[in-house]
Symmetry: C2
Subunit: 598 residues, 2 copies
C-alpha cells in the first residue's frame, strides 16, 4: 500500500522564500490580508484532507471503478467517493479561490493551486470531480448573463453542484470545428440541444444533486467550422426560478469508457436528446468562452502530473531505502545486513532524483504561473495585469505538456525502482503510471500544446513574450554573474537562452517558407523551453539555498535543494543537447516519407 | 479492434538481403539444406498462426485474465488459450529449432526468432507459455543427465509439457544469492524442496498435462550467497519411468498476481512443500545452469518488445491515415474532406516513424543475434563459434534493454497518435503499453542489463569484444567511405564509434578509482551502444536499398527503407548527444545527495 505525505515544506519554500507571494499580495487589494500564516494554515488543512480523506480511496477507486445503471442512466462512483466529496464541500474547499460575490472565499489562486497538487497526489480520479467544476465556474463567471450567474455560480462555488465540459464528439476531438451537436432556438429563449458527446470527464455521477454541463453546439444558421460554435448551459436537472431542482433534462449518460487509468472518474458518453439549454455568451462565439475553461483546465492537468510525480517519488524513495538487494559496487554499505538497500546503486538514485527534480521544478513553475494569474486578476496596475496575462499564456502549454511528459518519465522511473513489484497492482506504482498517461492527451494533446506554444505564443507575436521571459533570465544572470558559487546554475541557462533565441529566429524564417516546419520542431521546442524555465527556477531556488547556508542556516532542506539542482543540471537539463539537434533537423525527414508510411 | 499483418517482407529482407543467412547456413552441416524458400514458407505459416489463431485472443485474454481455483490450486487461462496451444503443438511449432535427437526439427534459431517476433506481436501473454519452455529445454539440454534428458526433453520439444523458471522469492529478485528455498537430499537420490517463489510466469495453467519447473534452491551444506545455489527439476506431476504421469508433486500455485499487463499469462506465487526434485548439473552450480535459461530468456524478452513495437506501429499508421482532424499547416491536403487525415501532421509522422524505425532496427539486431547463435551452435570452425558466442554475450543485454526501452517509447508514441482513443481499452493501444512495461523489468531489469554490458561484457575483457564489433563498423565505413550516397548513413556511426571508444577508455580509468562510476554511466552507455548498433544496421540496410535502386529495382520497399533510415539518423540517433553528456557527467551528482534522498 502506498503512502503520501503532503510536501508542505517545499510548497512553503517556493511560495514564501522564492516567490515571496505574501509580499506580492500586499500590492493587491483583494489579497492584502493574505499572509504567510494564513497560507500555511490552509496548506496544512488541505494536505490533511488529501492524505487522510481521498488518498485512502485511490487504490480502491481504481479497482472498483464507476458503474452505470443502464436503466436509470445513473452512475455509481466507487465506495467512499460520495462521503469524501461531502466532507470536501463541508470543509468549504470548492469555494477557496472563488468570487466572494457568489459565496467564495476569494483566496489567491496560488493557494488553490497548491491544494490541487496535493489532491492530485492523493487521488487524481476523485479530484477531477471538483476539478472540472472550476472550469465551468470560470466560463460562467466570465461569460454568463447575470441570471445565469445568479442561478449557477453559488451552487458551483459551494460544491453543491458540479460542472463538466462537453466538447468532444466521436469524430472530433482536437478539431472542434467539425462538431455536429445541434441547438434549436425555442420561443422562450432557450435551446433544444441534440447530439452525442464522448470522453466527458465527471460526466455523470452520484456525488451531487445536479450536474451543470457546458455544451458546445451549433445553431441552425451557424457558419461552418470553428466560427459556428456556441456554448450552452445544460443542467442535468432544470433549475426553477427559486433555485430548486425542476424536471430531469434530456441529457443522459449512454455509456462509460473502459480506460487505462483514472478508473474512479466516470468518463461518460453523453447523449443529448432535445435537452434544454441556455446560451452562454454570444452566438457562434462559444469557442472563445470555452477557452476560458480550457486554459484553466490545462494548468489543472499539469497539476495532476505534478501530484503523481510527487507521490510516486515518495513511495519509490521509501522502497529504495527499505529493499535490500545486492551490494554497492564500491563495497558493502550495510555491513550488518545480507545486502545493501538498493538506494546505494547510482542508477536507482538517478531514477529517484529524476522524479524529485521534476516534482520540484514543476512545483516552482506551477506556483509561479498561479501567481501570475493572481496578478492578472487582482493587480491594480493594468500594465502588470496585461504582462501577467501574456506570460501565463506563454507558460500554460509548458505547464500542461512539460509537466505531464515529465510525469510520464517520473512515474515510470519510480515504478522501475520497484522492479517486478512495480508491475503488481498492490504496490500502487503502476496506477500512478496509468493515471498519468491521460494527462499527456486530454485538454489538447501535448503535440497541440507545442503548436500553441511555438506557433501562437512565440512566433505569433514575433517572440515578444518570450523575450520578456528572457529578460527574467538575463536579470538573474546579471545578478549572479560574479557569484562563483552560482556559476554551475547560471551558465547552463545563459547558454541555452542564447541558443534558443537564435533558434527561434531561424525557425521563424523557415516557417515563413514552409509552415510545416513549425509542426516538425514544436514538440522538441517546447521541451527545450521547458528546461530553460525549469533551469531558471532551479537557479533561483539554488540562489535562496546558497544565501541561507551562507547565513548559517543549517536546515538540511537547503543542502538537499542544492543537490537536487546540481542533479538536474547534470542529468536532466542536458536533454536539450539532443532536442536542439532534432528540433533543427527540419521537417524533411518527417515529410519525405510517403513510401515509409504507405 | 486492432489488426495485425505479419511483416514478412521486412523479415525476409533482413534475413536474405542483408544477413544472407542461407549462404551462411551452407557452411553449417546441420543447416546446409535450409534455403530461402524453406525459410519463407515457415515464416508465412508462422505469421498465419500468429495473426489468425493467437492475435484474436489478445484483447479477450487481457480482459478475462487467469483465474485460480483456491481449492484445487489449478489455474484457468482465458477462453481460447488452451485450444490455440493445442493447435500450436499440432503444428509442430514448439519443436522448430529443437534438437532432432529429442524430436526437434533442428531448424536455425533465426527462423525461430522470427516466428517469436510474430507470436509476440499477436499475443505476448499467450506466447509466454511456450516461450518459457524454451529456457527450460535449453538448461536441461545443456546440463541435464542423460536420464533427465530422456525423460523431459521429448515432451518439452513436442510442447506436450511446458516449462518454467522458478527463481524469484519475495525478498530476492536480482540478488539470487539471498534465496532461501531449501533442498534436502533423500536416500533415493532425489531432493525434498521447500520454499516460496513469486513472479513465476506461466507458473500454473491448464494448457498441458504437466509443467516442468526448474527451481533454484539451497542444499543443506551450501555456502552462503550465489555460490550455494543449485538447480532442480520439479515437475508438477512426478514422471514414472515409462514416461507416464505419476502422483501430484508438492508444488502448488498459492496465488496469482494482479498486474499492470500480460493478464493472459498466469504470474504465479509458487509454494513448494516438500516437493520432489532432481538435481540438474552440479551441486551449488545452479546459477551457471540457470544462466543458460536467462540468456535465452533475455533475447526472448527483446523479441516481446519488438513484437509490440511492430503491432503498435501498424495500428497507429492505419488510424493516422483514417482519422481526419484539422488541416495541414501548409494548407489542405484532402480537399474533398472536412479535414485532413492526421498523418499530414509532422509530429504524428514523427511518432509513427519512431515506432517503425525502432521495429526495423530491432528486427535487424535480433535476427543478427540469432544468426550468431546459429554460428555458435553449428559452425564447424571453433574460432567462428567462439567469436559468435562472445558477440552474442555482448549484444544480449542490448537486445534485452534497448529493445524493451524502445518498445516503451514506441508503444507510448503509437498510443498518443490515437489521442483520447488511445487511452480507451477497446482500441487495444493501451494494452500494448501495459504489456510492454514488464519487459523493461523481468529477466534482469534494464539497469542490471546495463551493468552486465558495461561492467562485464565491455570493461570485463578490456573492450576486446567491443573492438570486434568496432571492426565491423570500421569495415563498413571503409567499404562505403567513398560512396557519397552512403555518407549520411556512415558519417554518424563513424563519429559515434570514435567517441564511444574514447569514452570507454575514460570510464575504464574512472571505474578503476571508483567502481560506482560504472553504475552511474551504465544505463546511458547501453543506449549509446544500442544506437551505434542500430546505426550500423540501418547503414547496412541503406546500403542494400541503394544498390537495389541503382540496379533499377522499383519496389517501393527500398525507398521506404531509405526514408526510415534517414528519419532514424535525423531524429532518433541524436539522442546520443545527450547520452554521451550524461554518461560522462560522473557519479557525483548521484551520490552526493544524502540530504536530497533523506
Amino acid at each position: 500500500m502506498p503512502t503520501y505525505t503532503p510536501p508542505l515544506r517545499d510548497l512553503q519554500f517556493v511560495m514564501h522564500e522564492v516567490l515571496k507571494v505574501a509580499d506580492e499580495y500586499k500590492a493587491m487589494p483583494a489579497h492584502a490580508e493574505v499572509d504567510e500564516e494564513t497560507i500555511n494554515a490552509i496548506l496544512e488543512e488541505g494536505g490533511k484532507f488529501a492524505s487522510e480523506v481521498t488518498f485512502p480511496l485511490n487504490q480502491t477507486g481504481d479497482t472498483e471503478g464507476c458503474k452505470l445503471d443502464p436503466k436509470t442512466h445513473e452512475v455509481a462512483t466507487p465506495k467512499g467517493f460520495k462521503e469524501a466529496y461531502a466532507k470536501y464541500v463541508e470543509g468549504g474547499w470548492p469555494a477557496l479561490s472563488a468570487d466572494p460575490e457568489y459565496g467564495g472565499q476569494g483566496l489567491p489562486i496560488v493557494v488553490n493551486q497548491a491544494i490541487y497538487e496535493m489532491l492530485n497526489s492523493a487521488n487524481q480520479a476523485w479530484t477531477m470531480y471538483p476539478g472540472l467544476t472550476h472550469g465551468a465556474y470560470e466560463a460562467l463567471h466570465e461569460h454568463g448573463t447575470p441570471e445565469q450567474k445568479k442561478m449557477y455560480l453559488p451552487k458551483l462555488t459551494s460544491g453543491e453542484w458540479t460542472g463538466t465540459m462537453c466538447l468532444t464528439e466521436p469524430h472530433c476531438g482536437t478539431d472542434l470545428g467539425l462538431l455536429r451537436t445541434k441547438a434549436e432556438p425555442q420561443s422562450d429563449g432557450t435551446y433544444k440541444i441534440t447530439g452525442n458527446k464522448i470522453f466527458i470527464s465527471a460526466g455523470e455521477h452520484d456525488l451531487v444533486s445536479n450536474i451543470v454541463h457546458l455544451v458546445l453546439a451549433r445553431l441552425p444558421d451557424a457558419p461552418q467550422g470553428s466560427k459556428g460554435i456556441s456554448l450552452f448551459i445544460v443542467p442535468k436537472f432544470l433549475v426553477n426560478p427559486d433555485g430548486s431542482l425542476g424536471q430531469r433534462n434530456g441529457i443522459w449518460c449512454g455509456g462509460l469508457e473502459h480506460k487505462m487509468g483514472i478508473h474512479g472518474n466516470a468518463t461518460a458518453q453523453i447523449v443529448l436528446d432535445g435537452a434544454v439549454g441556455t446560451l452562454v455568451g454570444e452566438p457562434n462565439k462559444g469557442l472563445q468562452a470555452m477557452f476560458v475553461m480550457m486554459n484553466a483546465a490545462r494548468l489543472g492537468v499539469g497539476m495532476q502530473s505534478l501530484g503523481l510525480t510527487e507521490v510516486a517519488f515518495q513511495n519509490a524513495l521509501a522502497y529504495a531505502k527499505d529493499r535490500i538487494q545486492m551490494r554497492s559496487l564500491s563495497g558493502p554499505k550495510a555491513k550488518d545486513k545480507p545486502a545493501d538497500p538498493i538506494i546505494v546503486h547510482p542508477d536507482v538514485r538517478k531514477m529517484l532524483l529524476t522524479a524529485k527534480a521534476y516534482a520540484e521544478g514543476g512545483r516552482a513553475l506551477s506556483l509561479y504561473s498561479a501567481l501570475l494569474i493572481d496578478r492578472e486578476l487582482n493587480h491594480p496596475d493594468e500594465k502588470v495585469r496585461k504582462e501577467a496575462a501574456e506570460m501565463v499564456a506563454l507558460l500554460t502549454p509548458i505547464v500542461k505538456a512539460f509537466l505531464t511528459d515529465n510525469g510520464h518519465i517520473a512515474t515510470n522511473a519510480c515504478l522501475q525502482v520497484f522492479g517486478g513489484h512495480g508491475f503488481i497492482a498492490e504496490w500502487g506504482m503502476e496506477q500512478f503510471v496509468r493515471d498519468n498517461r491521460i494527462n499527456m492527451i486530454y485538454e489538447g494533446t501535448n503535440t497541440v500544446q507545442s503548436l500553441d506554444l511555438l506557433g501562437r505564443k512565440v512566433l505569433g507575436n514575433q517572440g515578444a513574450t518570450l523575450r520578456k521571459f528572457g529578460k527574467l533570465v538575463a536579470q538573474l544572470v546579471e545578478e549572479e554573474g560574479v557569484n562563483e558559487k552560482m556559476a554551475e546554475f547560471i551558465n547552463p541557462i545563459a547558454m541555452l537562452g542564447e541558443q534558443l533565441t537564435r533558434f527561434t529566429t531561424e525557425i521563424g524564417f523557415k516557417a515563413f517558407q514552409n509552415p510545416d516546419e513549425v509542426g516538425g520542431a514544436a514538440v522538441d521546442y517546447l521541451r527545450v523551453l521547458g528546461h530553460l524555465v525549469f533551469g531558471y527556477f532551479f537557479a533561483r531556488m539554488a540562489q535562496v539555498a546558497l544565501r541561507e547556508i551562507a547565513a548559517g542556516n543549517t536546515d538540511p532542506f537547503y543542502k538537499a535543494k542544492l543537490q537536487t539542482a546540481r542533479f538536474y543540471f547534470a542529468r536532466l537539463f542536458p536533454e536539450t543537447a539532443t532536442l536542439m539537434r532534432t528540433a533543427r533537423a527540419g521537417v524533411r525527414s518527417l515529410l519525405d516519407t510517403e513510401e515509409a508510411l504507405a
